[in-house]
Symmetry: D2
């Protein structure tokens, strides 16, 4: 694992650490690969929809971050990544103790990075909870 890898992993972990919303959700950044990240989110009672399952908004938040950081991991140093748009299909209620959200880059252009995200039950990977297709835009860091 060379200097380049450390470079992007550090950038991703630093930015993730500044997202107070991820902290509020108790989401943890599990893995950071080149073009791939994994985030874990425990299902807390405070993040429920009307039946106590995880609110789609909480699930989408971690999928969005997983996709955004997958994109950031392949972006040029000195740039950052914003979500231009995302689309998500919710496949099953998130009723387990935790979810795993994975983001990966489908295609990285200079300006636009297209990412796919998938969420599964953390204890039963056969339970596919949601699938996302998102467009990230690369901008110079402020």
């Amino acid at each position: 694992m060379g200097a380049s890898h450390e470079g992007f992993e550090t950038r991703v972990r630093d930015s993730f650490g500044r997202q107070t919303f991820m902290r509020t959700l108790g989401a943890t950044l599990e893995e950071v690969g080149e073009g791939r990240t994994t985030i874990r989110l425990r299902r807390d009672r405070a993040f429920g929809q009307q039946h106590g399952y995880l609110h789609a908004g909480a699930l989408i938040a971690v999928l969005d971050s997983a996709c955004g950081y997958a994109a950031l991991s392949v972006a040029a140093p000195g740039s950052e990544v914003l979500t231009a748009e995302l689309k998500v299909n919710l496949l099953a209620p998130a009723a387990g103790a935790a979810v795993i959200a994975r983001g990966r880059v489908v295609r990285a252009g200079r300006t636009l990075v297209v990412c796919q995200g998938n969420a599964h039950d953390a204890d039963d990977p056969s339970k596919h909870l949601a699938t996302m297709l998102a467009t990230m835009v690369v901008v110079p860091a402020p």
Copy 2:
């Protein structure tokens, strides 16, 4: 405002009240019309992305709820509404003190209800923050 109106408004407000995630976000259900709802979300430091703006996930959560409750307001009594999928374009960072998310029904079928959502800065309605297009599915209440 007759019995029917009270009917749907009560159903919507009861369900919203059970969404612990809305409470955690401090989101408030401002208006409930037939096929339309408005939710207000204060920008709290706890819901930030890496630059302190409101995290897209928090904004999408309230837009999703605004669309879902717009759909529920026109669904047959005894049914409820789940988000099948949504797509959102993020137009500008949510940097103000609060956002207003509006959901409205575009077309209500027996099974599928298509909704549009829009979020604006609460203090400057000329700031269009996000626009959503979502598909809700009507199911019998459990």
Copy 3:
């Protein structure tokens, strides 16, 4: 209507004229405004789905062009517009003699232009057939 208007209308009409697919479909560019266009598509037997209604692909093609040209109408001279992504909800089968597809700009940024498209039955505007939300990317003309 001054030089600037003629400028964008000419650019849009020239580009539309080069889209052989629009000609093959028999689609006509009805109106070109600043940030708005209207395309008309006759329902031909040759463009059917399995029940003889207009194939979603044909409807989406004209909605995509309507959105793309709405974006081009507000883009800087010397640039052109490509579709980065689009999402469309099909609301009702296109069973009439013709459809009207309208595109309009929701937000024009320097690089990304977000557009909305809507298709209605040409003879019965109360029949809403489809609604689209699309992201166009502005690039220098080749």
Copy 4:
């Protein structure tokens, strides 16, 4: 290959054969598996956008059909499948002689079937042209 397989393949091929738009485009149904289909589309001059590449609308049409027939292949006999909505990211211009569009079922529910579609250059599979995420609705055949 048993009766059940013949069953769904026949249903899919019959329906595809009735889509006059696929015939007009010269699209051919290459493979039909359980939950998977492949369609081939030659790039004809008549289906171009302003630079002569394949118009997004033509590409989306075959991706939509590939996804729809993937869904139909797993739907109960006596039912049929309509596209409720689709979202597609266009990744690269379709500049080759032909494209291959693949659709596959991500999750099949009783009412909704979520599908993924991907299009590649027919001669260079490393060229990923487009990726789609679509929601199909299962209805009783008329």
